[in-house]
């Protein structure tokens, strides 16, 4: 029976691959046969969604996480490979991406239960301290050590290199809430490792925002000698963090009230929140990721609507993750990665090593259980939008070296984005936290009469 089941599954994967090939052929034909008609964004969105879903399904048996499959799909379909999705289309899809990320942040906040945070408080506190401070300093050191191999750093004075190294170290402590949630959503893992990683990645967003202000304040006089030590960043930080938490709490309470008293068409409410609020909040200069995480947290912990809220978001989960990661894959500059890969690989290795080392130290200090001690670092390797956002900010504030810095960051983040989820999923599988039962299949109906 098992052999027959395996055979059937193998045949299914074959058919799915064949269908994917048909779809790719259709898209290639469309791109050759059409010119100057309507926007290609709709077809591209559909293709990424469909191809991502099929590729994830096909690669699942060999242990590749779904979101890595989505990324690979985006990379293959993107402007640097098959060119089924061009640069302009990737830009056109950015509002959809923002919508996806806001839903991921809402889900992330809603997954954080106070009871869970309490049970992992000791581990979280030590990890927060060691993983952020030590990795920041160690990654700054690694960058400083590799400066002679980096063309843009080689020409800078030593003090400026120190400042740039600090900025690189800052990039090193960003993690990807989307990747963490994506893997947890697929594996439906439950246990100490899942709880710890979720708690750490979600709460570290606040720590990263604070450290970012500190690092920016310290690095500026080093990079631009003569510029005063300005505390402007802290004023902005206060506005951003306090404003975001206040707004997020209000939004959470409003959502909880909506769920309690209306409770219909939540998908439309989420779409409105994602598309419209991100535009407004960008204008108000608030951290909308923090707002949505706080809102989700409030709904989960200050109302009785948390489970229902999470279930509604999870209904959209499959679509949201495919769109977010496939678009991110299409966005990856493969040409740049091809040029910078040796250095990017060295920096990514250094970061993974620092994360592992910091994980060992933090786990010993917190007296974590063996599984957490061994694998606690694995979920902290993934990087995505937050790191790229910081790189873009550095590029805007320091045009002299910012472009090259951002290119290096994109190449390194690309590697972490690809490897991180595989590592985290492997850890969840090894610790036995992955759900044993797969999601039920759609039941076929009896033939219509």
């Amino acid at each position: 029976v098992s052999g027959t089941g395996e055979h059937r599954r193998g045949a299914n994967r074959g058919v799915e691959l064949l269908l994917l090939a048909v779809l790719v052929g259709l898209m290639l034909l469309a791109s050759r046969a059409t010119e100057g008609g309507g926007s290609p964004a709709l077809a591209a969105l559909g293709f990424l969604l469909l191809a991502g879903t099929v590729v994830a399904n096909v690669l699942e048996p060999i242990g590749i996480p779904h979101l890595t499959a989505y990324l690979l799909t985006g990379m293959a379909a993107g402007p640097y490979a098959l060119h089924l999705v061009d640069h302009q289309t990737v830009q056109d899809l950015s509002p959809i991406n923002a919508l996806a990320l806001s839903l991921i942040a809402l889900a992330g906040g809603a997954e954080l239960r106070i009871s869970m945070l309490r049970s992992t408080a000791r581990s979280l506190l030590w990890a927060m301290l060691v993983q952020n401070v030590a990795v920041l300093l160690l990654m700054s050191g690694a960058f400083f050590a590799l400066r002679s191999f980096l063309p843009f750093a080689r020409v800078l004075p030593l003090t400026a290199v120190l400042g740039v190294s600090l900025l690189w170290g800052m990039m090193g402590i960003t993690r990807s809430p989307a990747a963490t949630l994506g893997v947890l959503s697929q594996t439906r893992a439950k246990g100490p490792l899942a709880n710890f990683t979720l708690g750490f990645v979600m709460t570290s967003d606040v720590v990263v925002v604070v450290l970012l202000a500190v690092v920016f304040t310290v690095a500026r006089p080093l990079i631009e000698p003569g510029s005063p030590l300005s505390l402007r960043s802290f004023r902005e930080l206060g506005h951003e963090v306090l404003g975001s938490v206040a707004l997020g709490s209000t939004l959470g309470l409003v959502l909880a009230a909506y769920l309690r008293f209306v409770g219909r068409q939540l998908v439309l409410v989420f779409v409105a929140l994602g598309l419209v609020m991100t535009q407004v909040l960008d204008y108000l200069r608030f951290d909308w990721l923090l707002i949505f995480i706080t809102a989700g947290f409030v709904v989960q912990n200050l109302s009785k609507q948390g489970d229902r809220f999470l279930a509604e978001i999870e209904r959209l989960g499959e679509i949201v993750y495919v769109i977010f990661f496939a678009t991110a894959g299409a966005h990856l500059d493969l040409r740049l990665l091809g040029q910078l890969w040796p250095l990017a690989l060295a920096l990514a290795f250094a970061r993974a090593g620092c994360t592992w080392g910091a994980g060992q130290v933090a786990s010993r200090l917190a007296e974590d259980p063996p599984a957490l001690r061994r694998w606690g670092w694995s979920g902290l390797v993934s990087q995505a939008g937050l790191a790229l956002g910081i790189a873009a900010k550095i590029q805007a504030e320091h045009p002299s070296f910012g472009t090259a810095f951002a290119a290096m960051a994109v190449a390194t983040v690309a590697l972490n984005e690809l490897v991180g989820p595989v590592l985290f999923k492997t850890a969840l599988d090894r610790t036995g936290e992955t759900a044993a039962q797969p999601e039920p299949e759609v039941a076929a109906e009896t033939p219509a009469t």
Partner: protein, 413 residues
């Protein structure tokens, strides 16, 4: 009005649409045809208040295309079915013929009117622009909306062979107009296509594309896909179908409808898919109709005062022919009597969708003529059809209650 507020407005419209639908998918309030948003859109549009500018409408064109494609997909998926009951083949053929007959009569009358009002010197068989214009008007005026029939039947608690026949015919009459839309779109070479292709090949290509993507969807969902993946697959394939049609300047309605037909014909999960997408119909339809209303610009329609009454008169004649033929072939229908003719005049979402599709593909007098005709037919249908249907069902002895809203207890159920 900026894009952000307009987007909020559309989402609010979709929300209101969903609230107006009862738990059993039936509307509790509003007009019989379900075309209230057209009026709201018209008021907000350039003709009246001018709050929705042409630039803003351009911005929302992709959204309108997605709305149209999904509506067509839902209609295709539901074609030949009334809830869980399969419509008999003969009735499906009858409904299709009724739609095609109305289309032909209205299109013919419109073509003659257009040639009479503005003679261009082009021989009639070469007057492609007029054919597109007249054909579009015919397609937009062909349907009898199932929403109005169901709306009236629910209110008078009608049950019986005549009610069933009217539901079946009104469901099955969408096939002709939706397929012919695709043919009309190919009469003017699509700007998006790099290679010149014969219109017949292009038409078959649209149908083939829709059916092929429908079959591909059916194959994908019949595999090991999980319930959560179903949305992803369905959304993905429909976006590919709609996106390819938009990119090549083809008819989104034809491709979407054929995709629904293909999927419905072969999928073992038809009911599950139907259950998944049907709740999305009203929230999608509402913003699409709102955009259709906002696009109406009567100033662009030549000879409006002659053309529109002529089209409506032709539609009345066509529906009288349909009623007559149906009564000849199906004796119980004779009991419904003359009120059946105005009863069949109901039209709404499908007509407006065709009108909007033409307005998007042929901006200017051609598209506007089709859109304004669809709106006029909808308004006339709204005025005469509910009363006609009520009277017809009462005469047929199938209406069990007087008119009025459903009892609150039943609505709650």
């Amino acid at each position: 009005m900026n894009a952000l507020w307009a987007m909020m407005g559309l989402i609010a419209a979709a929300f209101v649409g969903s609230v107006l639908v009862g738990r059993r998918g039936q509307r509790r309030h509003g007009l019989a045809s379900g075309s209230e948003p057209v009026l709201v859109g018209f008021l907000l549009g350039p003709t009246v208040l001018g709050l929705v500018t042409p630039g803003l409408l351009e911005l929302f064109t992709p959204l309108a295309q997605v709305g149209l494609g999904w509506l067509a997909l839902i209609l295709g998926l539901d074609y030949g079915w009334v809830d869980r009951r399969r419509i008999p083949v003969l009735r499906r053929i009858g409904g299709t013929l009724a739609g095609v007959l109305t289309l032909a009569v209205v299109a013919g009358a419109t073509f003659l009117l257009l040639r009479r009002l503005q003679f261009t010197g082009v021989p009639w068989w070469q007057d492609t622009v007029r054919w597109i214009q007249a054909g579009g008007v015919g397609a937009a005026c062909a349907e009898t909306t199932r929403h109005a029939v169901r709306w009236v039947a629910d209110r008078v608690k009608a049950e019986g062979p005549v009610t069933e026949l009217l539901l079946d015919l009104s469901d099955a009459d969408d096939l002709g107009p939706f397929l012919i839309c695709g043919a009309l779109f190919t009469l003017e070479p699509p700007a998006g296509l790099r290679w010149a292709t014969h219109p017949g090949v292009l038409w078959a290509g649209q149908i083939g594309l829709g059916v092929a993507i429908g079959l591909l969807t059916a194959l994908l969902v019949s595999r090991e896909f999980r319930s959560r993946s179903l949305w992803g697959v369905l959304f993905g394939t429909s976006m590919v179908a709609i996106g390819l049609a938009v990119r090549a300047d083809l008819a989104v309605l034809t491709v979407g409808f054929c995709m629904g037909l293909g999927l419905s014909a072969v999928s073992r999960h038809r009911q599950a898919i139907r259950a998944l997408v049907l709740p999305a119909e009203y929230p999608l339809r509402l913003p699409a109709l709102l955009l259709a209303g906002a696009r109406i610009d009567v100033g662009q329609v030549p000879f409006l005062t002659w053309l529109v009454p002529g089209i409506l008169a032709a539609r009345l004649v066509a529906k009288a022919l349909v009623a007559g033929c149906a009564a000849l072939l199906y004796p119980p229908l004779r009991r419904a009597g003359p009120p059946l003719v105005p009863g069949l005049m109901a039209c709404g979402p499908s007509s407006m969708a065709i009108g909007l599709a033409f307005a998007l593909r042929f901006p200017g007098p051609v598209g506007e003529t089709v859109l304004v005709s669809a709106a006029a037919a909808t308004i006339l249908g709204e005025l005469v059809a509910p009363a006609g249907l009520r009277s017809a069902l009462r005469r047929a002895g199938e209406a069990t209650t007087q008119t009025g809203p459903q009892p609150a207890a039943e609505v709650a159920a």
